[in-house]
């Protein structure tokens, strides 16, 4: 069996990792530190932890991952330690590279949702939403989406934000040793997933939000289910506050850990809770409103220290804001169509297929060939639980995207890790990774 492994390539890739100090010159080291920390060499030199003589190697490089229980999937980090202190750190990614952007070029716009939904598997509906919005913009129908579809999209997107942040609560607790928190987080997330299953048929990877609207109307009794969620979750969030927020051990472990400054976060392009934890009130839902976010009331939660505790608190309170938004959506959910009545993108209703040959042909053509999208290119960005998720589609006028690129928030956010870890303790490394909340499916795509 060993020869099989060797035919599937090595898997270590030393070129992409950190090199021991003894093997490189001071100048190369400076360049490497600069590249990893994304600083000019002059700035990197000012940090002052670059030894004059690299041969005096008192440090150790350890490898964390790709199969590490707390790296949230297959993230690999190379850490250079001096004693317990992390000097250098480099994330090495690609262990979950799925070729989704290539696959996306071979799927029609109709099928594309199945592909993008598997990128950020903790907030699949946001992925579908951004892909659908980009397609609609290319088609020029972004203003014609029925009201009910828009509000449904908002409802699902917000509930997805809740389930994603609840999962963060669970994994963050687990990574820090608060195992009961893990059980609680999953319990609440299951409630939300049960609603998703009722609406979309699946717990994850729904492919429910599609170009032109959504796949189906809300099922009967959906309002009671949502009300049940809105009733049951807030008291449990208060429980979390008791269990964690005010608890001295929790605070000690998170406060001041993994600090990133405002300037660093902006320069690195970090978005979402990471950027907000540094005090920048940037939330695309408010600042570049899409759907009907300009019509609902909510607060943008902002931190001030840029540490792991701020990121935890932001996410916890964003669940509360999402609940607030969902309440308003419940009040305003209109009746009407759940998808656009446009022959070009909408298949005929099931009942029509039985009676009309044209409808059958139309249905068949849409599902086999897809619909053609005019030439052009767009970039659409929305706020996913992890930050700005953007979709860049270049179309050549055919039924498949010519190029489909997703700007994944985790991919960018994870590049902040070297900054957050520098000078910290190796024992805090797990807390820092956890507070970034990366989804590796989205990092590697």
């Amino acid at each position: 069996m060993t020869d099989i492994v060797s035919t599937i390539r090595g898997g270590n890739d030393p070129e992409q990792g950190l090199k021991p100090r003894s093997e490189i010159t001071a100048r190369e080291l400076l360049r490497e530190v600069g590249a990893v920390l994304r600083m000019s060499e002059a700035d990197a030199a000012k940090l002052g932890d670059i030894p004059v003589d690299p041969s005096e190697d008192q440090t150790m490089i350890i490898n964390m991952g790709p199969q590490h229980p707390s790296t949230h999937g297959v993230l690999r980090l190379m850490l250079e330690l001096q004693g317990e202190t992390v000097l250098r750190c480099k994330p090495i990614i690609g262990y979950l590279h799925t070729g989704m952007e290539k696959t996306g070029e071979n799927l029609t716009y109709m099928q594309g949702g199945t592909n993008v939904t598997r990128m950020d598997y903790l907030s699949p509906l946001n992925n579908e939403l951004v892909f659908s919005m980009a397609t609609e913009k290319l088609l020029g129908i972004d203003g014609d989406i029925p009201e009910r579809a828009v509000w449904m999209r908002m409802l699902l997107s917000e509930l997805n934000r809740m389930s994603s942040h609840l999962l963060f609560m669970a994994t963050n607790g687990m990574d820090l040793g608060a195992v009961s928190m893990m059980i609680y987080g999953w319990r609440e997330r299951e409630d939300v997933l049960r609603f998703f299953q009722k609406v979309t048929g699946l717990r994850m990877n729904h492919n429910f939000i599609r170009p032109g609207g959504v796949a189906a109307d809300l099922p009967e009794g959906w309002r009671d289910d949502v009300l049940h969620l809105l009733e049951s979750i807030p008291p449990r969030l208060d429980e979390y506050d008791v269990l964690m927020t005010g608890q001295p051990i929790w605070r000690d472990r998170l406060q001041g850990v993994g600090v990133i400054t405002q300037a660093e976060a902006m320069a690195l392009g970090a978005t979402g809770p990471i950027l907000r934890s540094t005090g920048v009130p940037w939330d695309l839902r408010r600042d570049q409103p899409y759907l009907h976010y300009d019509e609902v009331e909510f607060d943008v939660i902002v931190g001030s220290y840029g540490d792991a505790f701020d990121r935890y608190a932001i996410r916890l309170n964003e669940i509360r804001e999402s609940i607030k938004i969902v309440r308003q959506i419940l009040d305003r959910m209109p009746t009407g169509d759940y998808r656009i009545q446009n022959k070009k993108v909408t298949p005929p209703p099931r009942a029509r297929i039985d009676e009309s040959m044209e409808a059958l042909i139309h249905h068949f053509k849409i599902f086999t060939e897809g619909f053609k999208v005019p030439e052009g290119e767009v970039y659409v960005a929305i706020e996913s639980p992890r930050g700005e998720i953007g979709c860049y589609i270049a179309s050549d006028g055919s039924a498949t995207p010519y190029r489909m690129h997703v700007r994944a928030p985790s991919f960018v956010n994870i590049q902040c890790l070297p900054h957050m870890m520098r000078g910290g303790l190796v024992a805090d490394a797990v807390a820092v990774i956890s507070s970034v909340d990366p989804v590796l499916g989205e990092v590697d795509r």
């Binding site: 890739d13 600069g34 994304r38 990614i93 570049q288 700007r407």
Partner: protein, 161 residues
């Protein structure tokens, strides 16, 4: 239309700048000074099989196009920069000095398209293994599928007990 002497076009209501490769860094620098402090996205497109796309006058279509999305937090605006990169000389200056965050994205473009970024501090592959042949997102790179086999004489597996 033009901005900083660079052709400006409109794509579905979004502003797109089309600098040449020589003007690229200068234009992005001007945008950075004009509050576009965040490089939201940097990617590329391989237009091998679609050469006749619409571009503003004076811009020659080349095989590759590097696409940079910039974001102004202060003005809540976005702008896109599209640069033509010829196949024969697939290099373009790196934005590392202006936007440090573009480092990983440029590595991804290098990995997926084989476009080299000059003055990039660490131009290695990021997603694929280092010894991988070819650049997967190029249009002349096969998707690499395994044919699904449903033949009756499919060799039987040895029973594992």
């Amino acid at each position: 239309m033009s901005l900083y002497g660079v052709p400006l076009s409109d794509s579905r209501g979004q502003r797109v700048l089309h600098p040449t490769r020589d003007e690229y860094v200068k234009t992005v620098k001007a945008l950075l000074d004009d509050t576009f402090v965040m490089c939201a996205d940097l990617t590329a497109v391989d237009f091998l099989t679609h050469p006749g796309r619409t571009l503003p006058e004076g811009i020659t279509a080349e095989r590759f196009e590097v696409v940079v999305n910039l974001l102004s937090i202060e003005r809540r605006e976005r702008i896109r920069v599209r640069v033509q990169v010829p196949e024969a000389d697939a290099t373009i200056p790196s934005l590392f000095d202006l936007y440090p965050g573009s480092e990983a994205m440029e590595r991804e473009v290098y990995d997926m398209f084989g476009i080299a970024f000059t003055n990039h501090p660490d131009l290695t592959r990021i997603l694929m293994p280092e010894d991988w042949d070819g650049h997967p997102l190029r249009k002349d790179y096969d998707q690499g599928r395994i044919p699904v086999q449903f033949s009756a004489d499919f060799p039987a597996r040895e029973p594992q007990s």
